[in-house]
Amino acid sequence: MDLVISISSGICLLLGSFICVSGSIGLLRFPDFYTRMHATSVTETSGVALILIGLMILSPDLLVFAKLVMILLLGLLIGPTTGHVLAKAAYHNGLKPKLTKSGNEQSSVPSSERGGDISKS
């Protein structure tokens, strides 16, 4: 029984920390503000959820479990609110997203530069 608990919580913690690190790498790698926001929303939903579930499996009593559930619910409530407020403020203050040009409006960048894969869709 002890072994099952430690293995399942270890798997959750490992997956969660992998997702957190890759969310931060996405924050560094993506080209503009709006796409970086998608990378942080990965960390805010599944990274936080998996790490807190891993801790919930290890939790010694009911109070600790309840506090972990509270942190998870608060995070899931706060994440989309902050994201929407940030995106709305950025959009209304004139920060234009970099979009892929597709179909009738062709890209102003020649596709030989590096955008071959992007303008395909």
Binding site: S6, G10, L13, L14, G16, S17, F18, C20, V21, S24, I25, L27, L28, P31, D32, F33, R36, M37, T40, T43, E44, G47, V48, I51, L52, G54, L55, L58, S59, L63, V64, K67, L68, M70, I71, L74, G75, I78, G79, T82, V85, L86, A89, A90, H92, N93, G94, L95, K96, K98, L99, T100, K101, S107, S108, V109, E113, R114, G115, I118
Partner: protein, 97 residues
């Protein structure tokens, strides 16, 4: 395994704060600081389990609330002139880097 997760969160925080220093626009910095706050909540919760003191979870809850309120408070002033972006950002993808 908890210690490994703590170290991973620490690495993620370093990556996030480097984006906060690099960030070309103001909004990138706000986003990176918000993401850093989310990871700090996780770090406090994990450290509570590492040290065997689950009372740290109270601090984690308070930190989550402070993080939320600070972002909302900064963006409360987003009508002012310093938040305006010039339109030179409007370049198609693939031009940068």
């Amino acid at each position: 395994m908890i210690i490994a997760a703590t170290l991973a969160i620490f690495c993620a925080m370093i990556l996030a704060i480097s984006r906060a220093f690099m960030g070309p626009t103001l909004y990138d910095r706000i986003l990176a600081v918000n993401s850093l706050g989310t990871k700090t909540v996780l770090l406090i919760a994990l450290l509570g389990f590492v040290m065997g003191r689950p009372e740290f979870l109270d601090i984690a809850i308070v930190y989550a609330l402070i993080n939320f309120i600070s972002v909302i408070a900064v963006l409360r002033y987003s009508d002012s002139n310093q938040f305006k972006e010039n339109s030179s950002e409007n370049e198609p993808i693939g031009k940068e880097r």
